[in-house]
């Protein structure tokens, strides 16, 4: 009880103690792009679904993005026997904790928790880090427990730093960059004599992977597109019904207004 209170009291100021975070790239996703969703589904099942479940998502839901039952069965059904089953993983929570140190989170609605932009930037921001347990680190999510599963595709990145005397110069330089970046600020004491207090951090590809950077960006775009669709598969249907409902309601508004005016015309 005391400990919990203490934790809660500490938690509030912590939110602002973190250093400046990476500016997120806008994910160029489109839930109407069926080809992109299908490509994303393939990447998701092949790379993510080994450790992460999507426990409220049925394989059969993939019929809605234009796949046939045959296609799902032959290409995507690794962890289940029937297309009506849920996208669970074979690994138990206990094993996961033992092997990976933490249970990989379920990804069914992760896009609604993190946002598409966060996922899009995060999956393109891994870099090599000798000091971490997995050998990988991430610009968006520091010391993340997940290793860079897509590294054979993206190649290996390293973090690079450049020092600047003021924020404007650092940001101007950062705007030329394609990859995620952030600027850490040192205190004058930390910076020492040369007064270069602003450290621009970004990543650079050291060893290319099997995809070009552009191809990798497209792959991540498709994956994030799929995960965003999966987080709310009814989102397109919802908007379509919305237009219909609004149309009916506008008619109701007009009728109700005319009725109201008719009844009230004698009241002065």
């Amino acid at each position: 009880m005391r400990v919990l209170l203490l934790l809660l009291a500490l938690a509030a100021p912590l939110a602002f103690a973190e250093e400046e975070s990476v500016r997120l790239d806008a994910a160029p996703i489109d839930p109407r792009d069926v080809a992109s969703l299908q490509a994303g589904a393939r990447t998701f099942v092949n790379y993510c679904l080994n450790c992460h479940s999507a426990g409220v998502m049925r394989y059969s839901k993939l019929l809605e993005i234009g796949l046939t039952e045959q296609q799902i069965k032959e290409n995507l059904l690794f962890t289940a026997d029937k297309v009506g089953e849920l996208m669970n993983v074979a690994m138990s929570r206990k094993d996961a904790k033992e092997w990976l140190g933490t249970v990989p989170p379920d990804l069914s609605v992760i896009a609604r928790a993190r946002g598409a932009d966060w996922l899009y930037t995060y999956l393109r921001s891994f870099y090599r880090d000798r000091e971490s347990a997995t050998g990988w680190n991430n610009m968006v999510y520091e010391h993340v427990a997940m290793p860079h599963v897509l590294w054979t595709l993206s190649g290996q990145q390293v973090q690079v730093e450049r020092k600047f005397k003021n924020m404007e110069q650092a940001e101007a330089s950062a705007r030329q960059l394609k990859n995620a970046w952030k600027v850490d600020e040192l205190t004058p004491e930390q910076a020492g004599k040369d007064e270069e207090r602003f450290i621009l951090k970004t990543i650079r590809t050291e060893t290319p992977g099997s995809l070009s950077q552009l191809e990798y960006d497209v792959l991540v775009r498709d994956l994030v597109n799929f995960m965003t669709w999966m987080s709310e598969p009814n989102q397109l249907e919802r908007k379509q019904y919305g237009y219909l409902v609004l149309l009916v309601l506008l008619v109701l508004v007009v009728l109700a207004y005319l009725l109201y005016k008719e009844f009230w015309k004698d009241v002065h």
């Binding site: 009880m1 919990l4 209170l5 934790l7 809660l8 938690a11 509030a12 100021p13 912590l14 939110a15 602002f16 973190e18 426990g55 409220v56 998502m57 049925r58 839901k61 989170p105 379920d106 069914s108 609605v109 992760i110 609604r112 928790a113 993190r114 946002g115 987080s231 709310e232 598969p233 009814n234 919802r238 908007k239 019904y241 919305g242 409902v245 609004l246 309601l249 506008l250 109701l252 508004v253 109700a256 207004y257 009725l259 109201y260 009844f263 009230w264 009241v267 002065h268």
Partner: protein
């Protein structure tokens, strides 16, 4: 009254079914006060004819209540109040129950719209002095409804069992832990466990789906009965009963609620549904204000989110809670209580009142120096909500409506509304030293508005009220 003594019910108009319908209504009316209720609450309930925009929100609140009850019933059919299944069962409703997403979004959006309607309804009361004599009890019933609504929203917010549900409930229940002596045990008793857990979820479910709604419905009934007993106020704040037709006894500036206000409120409901549906179908998360991003992560008792904030409708009070630091107690509350006690003792000549005020002030001052600031934060938060109960006695203006009040009231009310919004905004954000100072200033203004009301409302230069409503 014996059955035979009642007049038969006749329906006007022509049609083959009229005879049968009249017969049926007569049969019912001789066994149940059907027509009495119909006349006293609708067809012969005479309401002022000059209701304006602000008067839509009473009937809209009732409409949202019904919407929440109906959508809630359907949600209950598929929701599982079980810590292991709750989160997934909500997603099951969203994905696999036919139209489940629609029902769920109506319920989640309805919760926020309930507060929007009720806040606007209360603001209407502040504008036109609707709480003034003889409507004090009506106002108190309304405030009890508001308290119930807050409880209902709080219990309901735990049910999706996301991270915000979980940690929000943890923070609020821990507030009870701040009460001296009994606090920690009280918090355990409320949770049914040492942390928020399955036991907590089960009891919150029981409170959310049956206990609080029952009380809420009873209070809404009492609120309406009290309203129909004293009659509605209106934007001019003058009683329509003062000018009655000599023959019929019906107020001259009134119209029967049915059909005049039933058709007008139907129009209001139609417009409301357009706005409501735009949110439900196109922006159900409302930018994270109605459905918070963090709540799409299942509750994890071992991972405290970095930023815990209640839903927007609680944030003004939450800001007041967080603004109450040691410094605030020392430099604002302490001189505030001394000055306020001096003010009362100076302006009230009654010795008993003076003595009581002095004693209460002394007790508070002892408390300020001996109890944790957190306790006073909880107290202030409680007072910030319950102070509304006292409005009928705090407002001592000679007139009711803002239309005839003077500049002091207008400035004070505007300042209060701005403060309420600023505190609300600050409550959704994390803490910085600048924001804490802003929240402390806001807290001071919030309480000065209420505590000094007996003086500023009386000092104000009001215009004379008209004899009858102006019809505008």
């Amino acid at each position: 009254m014996a059955a035979a003594e009642k007049q038969p019910v006749t329906i006007s108009g022509v049609g083959p079914l009229n005879g049968a319908m009249s017969g049926l209504l007569t049969w019912i009316d001789q066994r149940f006060p059907l027509m009495d209720l119909w006349y006293s609450h609708l067809a012969k309930y005479h309401a002022p004819k000059n209701f304006n925009f602000w008067y839509y929100f009473g009937s809209l609140s009732l409409f949202v209540l019904v919407l929440q009850l109906v959508t809630g019933i359907f949600l209950t059919m598929n929701y599982k109040p079980d810590a292991a299944q709750a989160f997934a069962s909500v997603e099951y409703i969203m994905r696999e129950v036919p139209a489940g997403w629609w029902i769920r979004y109506m319920h989640s959006t309805g919760a926020s719209f309930f507060f929007i309607c009720v806040y606007l309804h209360m603001f209407r009361g502040l504008l036109y002095g609707s709480y003034r004599k003889p409507r004090e009890l009506l106002w108190i019933f309304g405030m009890l409804i508001f308290l119930c609504l807050m409880a209902e929203a709080f219990f309901g917010y735990l049910l999706p069992w996301g991270q915000m549900s979980y940690w929000g409930a943890q923070v609020i229940v821990n507030l009870f832990g701040a009460i001296p002596f009994i606090g920690p045990d009280l918090a355990i008793w409320i949770r049914g466990d040492y942390v928020v857990s399955d036991a907590t979820l089960n009891r919150f479910f029981a409170f959310h789906v049956i206990a609080v709604p029952l009380v809420l419905l009873a209070l809404v009934g009492a609120h309406l009965l009290a309203l129909h007993e004293v009659g509605s106020n209106n934007p001019d704040g003058v009683e329509i009963k003062n000018a009655k037709d000599a023959k019929t006894g019906i107020p001259l500036d009134s119209v029967p609620f049915h059909p005049y206000y039933t058709v007008k409120d139907t129009f209001g409901v139609a417009v409301f549904l357009v706005v409501f549906s735009i949110v439900v179908f196109f922006a159900p998360e409302a930018g994270g204000y109605f459905l918070e991003a963090n709540n799409f992560i299942a509750a994890d008792p071992l991972k405290t989110p970095p930023h815990i904030a209640p839903v927007w409708y609680f944030t003004p009070y939450y800001s007041i809670l967080r603004a109450t630091t040691d410094d605030f107690v020392r430099w604002a509350l302490t001189p505030g209580v001394i000055a306020f006690a001096a003010l009362i003792i100076w302006s009230v000549k009654n010795t008993v009142v003076r003595g009581a005020v002095g004693a209460i002030a002394a007790l508070l001052l002892i408390g300020f120096f001996n109890l944790d600031a957190k306790v006073w934060g909880v107290v202030l938060m409680g007072v910030s909500v319950t102070i509304f109960f006292l409005l009928p006695w705090l407002d001592r203006s000679p007139v009711k409506s803002i239309r005839y009040k003077g500049p002091i009231t207008k400035v004070a009310l505007a300042l209060f509304v701005v403060t309420f919004f600023v505190l609300g905004y600050l409550g959704t954000e994390g803490v910085t030293s600048g924001r804490t100072v802003a929240a402390q200033i806001g807290t001071a203004v919030y309480f000065l508005f209420f505590f000094l009301m007996p003086w500023w409302s009386k000092m104000d230069k009001c215009k004379p009220e008209p004899q009858r409503v102006t019809g505008k």
